[in-house]
């Protein structure tokens, strides 16, 4: 039982990170229709922004986290201007290849900047554990779950209780109508990318102490975020959360109880099954092809 609780907490923590990555992916997809294949590299950049400020820069924890997230916000704006704007009217597949191409650039730019040697990003709760029913659970894992829950609450407030968030939803629903209503569509779309980049940044900062900070960490995260999105439902925020937690839990529990070699096959098998039997996922949009 103690083992199970420990695995459960680690699975939830990992799942929270996947959920945040998936949320960033979904926000961008609902607003712009772009399937962002660089989403994993966004998280990798978040981790390395933390490495730059905390490890290489030696900043204090709050300053380091804020600096890293500010850098991610800037990066989101840059991505909007350099990748999204020029390709916004291209076919979906061109956008896919475009985001993959820029993902290759990001990964190799990080390799140039930081080298291939992995970094250790320390947690504010380094080495601290609590005892839950006999299970030793790292405080970091609990902090990750709590931070994610708080962020999801804030996102809910943003999208349901603020003018900005409601305007963003209007753009996601119907871009032309939103423009006719006098909304500044360009600025709102830019903000969407910034928000996605900052969320990925938080995910990266939280993932850093759980894995090693490695420039190749982007692709596995992207694949898990895709699986989470499909399972939860394309374009659905609750779906991204549920899917992320499912993928994180199956990865950790599957490795412990089923097979460590085939742990990832559970998530991807579930993803393919969902695609075949229920392509809209648990919470997702009904339309199969949003074009």
């Amino acid at each position: 039982m103690a083992d199970f609780i420990q695995l459960l907490m680690n699975g939830l923590a990992l799942g929270s990170v996947y959920a945040l990555a998936a949320i960033g992916f979904v926000i961008v997809y609902s607003a712009t229709g772009v399937v962002n294949f660089a989403a994993g590299q966004f998280v990798m950049l978040g981790t390395f922004a933390g490495v730059a400020t905390l490890v290489n820069g030696g900043w204090s924890l709050p300053a380091g986290y804020l600096g890293a997230l500010a850098a991610m916000a800037l990066f989101g704006a840059l991505f909007y201007a350099v990748v999204y704007l020029p390709l916004r009217n291209s076919p979906a597949v061109t956008m896919i290849i475009g985001t993959v191409a820029i993902g290759i650039t990001l990964q190799n730019a990080a390799l140039l900047g930081f080298g291939s040697w992995p970094f250790r990003l320390v947690s504010p709760f380094e080495g601290m554990t609590v005892d839950i029913a006999g299970a030793v659970v790292p405080v970091h894992a609990i902090a990750v779950v709590v931070t994610t829950a708080v962020l999801i609450g804030l996102l809910w407030l943003l999208f349901n209780r603020t003018t900005l968030g409601i305007a963003m939803r209007a753009v996601a629903q119907d871009l032309v109508a939103a423009r006719l209503m006098g909304l500044k569509v360009g600025a709102l779309l830019a903000f969407t990318w910034i928000l996605a980049a900052v969320l990925a940044g938080v995910a990266g900062l939280m993932l850093g102490p759980m894995w090693f900070a490695d420039v190749n960490m982007g692709d596995p995260i992207a694949l898990k975020a895709f699986a989470a999105t499909i399972i939860g439902g394309f374009g659905s925020l609750p779906g991204a959360i549920a899917g992320g937690l499912f993928v994180g839990l199956t990865e950790v529990l599957g490795a412990a109880y089923v097979s460590s070699a085939y742990k990832d096959l559970i998530a991807f098998g579930a993803m393919i099954l969902f695609l075949l039997l229920r392509p809209q996922g648990v919470f997702g949009e009904r339309i199969q092809d949003r074009g």
Partner: protein, 324 residues
């Protein structure tokens, strides 16, 4: 006639290059030819039928693994092993295609991506059969009339012949009623169904054809490199195949070949930039997508027909150029 001219041009340029370039460039040319076979195949699925497949490398891998296992474990000749490799891969694509191809757009993209990742996981972990991450080594090369195709130059000649034959077949299919039916399904599914085209069957046929070509590419790859491992068929390669098709000019056979050659050589040309070459490779691919939305073939068509009226834009340009 134009396809014959195009294939003749391909053979002449390829033969001429094979006589003058260095051993290293020959090796790259061979990789480009293998990639071109796969990408000409992908053109059936994506170019003609409009199916975004991010799992093409899995079919290349399936073909390569079947050939490698039959030759190294059962001692078959590579020629004989290539038959079940290609047919088996085609069957696998048809069986997978029926349920999968009900999906469209990026749903299909992510489903095929999941397929490719799953293939990689199985190939990595079914160690008894696939050797795991160590891969399969000592795959025998092809022999023609008692002469082994050892060395890069003879292999390039053989590869070019295979590519030329497959490109010709693709051109014939493209112009047949089946090719037109695939494109009709791509352009308007409902209208295609109204004219009596079986939409599902056309999609599965395009997907299966693309997998058959992929398996041939896999067999060429295995007999050329003599070694395969799961990394050779990761989903990153599927994305590269799609990028080759789009950079070359989608829906055209000439574009598929040009894109395969360009994206095989581009990283090598950028090696002068030292460690930064892959970062620039990504930026250049993005630049091509932004500034040449119809690919190299689209650019060439526009350039040849410069005073064309403005409505002769992307789609029509690509159509014209699709008769190489």
């Amino acid at each position: 006639m134009r396809s014959l001219l195009g294939v003749a041009a391909l053979l002449i340029v390829g033969l001429a290059l094979s006589l003058i370039v260095s051993e290293y460039t020959l090796r790259l040319l061979n990789l480009a030819v293998v990639a071109a076979v796969a990408v000409v195949g992908l053109n059936f699925a994506f170019g003609y039928a409009g199916l975004i497949s991010l799992g093409h490398a899995a079919f290349v891998g399936l073909g390569a693994y079947v050939l490698a296992i039959l030759t190294t474990k059962l001692g078959w000749s590579p020629w004989l092993a290539a038959v079940p490799a290609v047919i088996g891969t085609g069957l696998a694509a048809a069986v997978l295609g029926y349920p999968l191809l009900r999906l469209k757009g990026h749903y299909l993209a992510l489903a095929t991506l999941g397929l490719n990742v799953s293939f990689g996981i199985v190939a990595t972990n079914w160690i008894d059969l696939t050797g795991g991450t160590n891969g399969i080594a000592n795959i025998p090369g092809l022999t023609i009339a008692g002469h082994e195709l050892s060395g890069e130059r003879p292999f390039l000649w053989f590869g070019l012949a295979v590519l030329a034959a497959l490109a010709l077949i693709a051109a014939v299919i493209h112009r047949s009623r089946y090719g037109r039916a695939m494109m009709a399904v791509r352009d308007d599914e409902t209208a295609a169904a109204m004219t009596g085209i079986n939409v599902t069957r056309m999609r599965v046929a395009a997907f299966t054809l693309s997998a058959l070509y992929a398996a041939v590419a896999g067999c060429l790859f295995a007999t050329h490199i003599h070694f395969i491992s799961p990394d050779d068929f990761s989903y990153a390669h599927s994305i590269t195949h799609l990028a080759m098709l789009i950079v070359g000019g989608e829906a055209t056979i000439a574009g598929a070949i040009l894109g395969a050659v360009l994206l095989t050589f581009l990283p090598e040309w950028l090696r002068v930039l030292g460690d930064a070459y892959l970062a620039f490779f990504g930026l250049m691919t993005l630049a091509i997508l932004i500034f040449l939305p119809t690919g190299i073939v689209g650019l060439a068509t526009r350039w040849v027909r410069r005073p064309a009226p403005p409505q002769a834009d992307a789609a029509i340009g690509a159509e014209e150029a699709s008769r190489p």
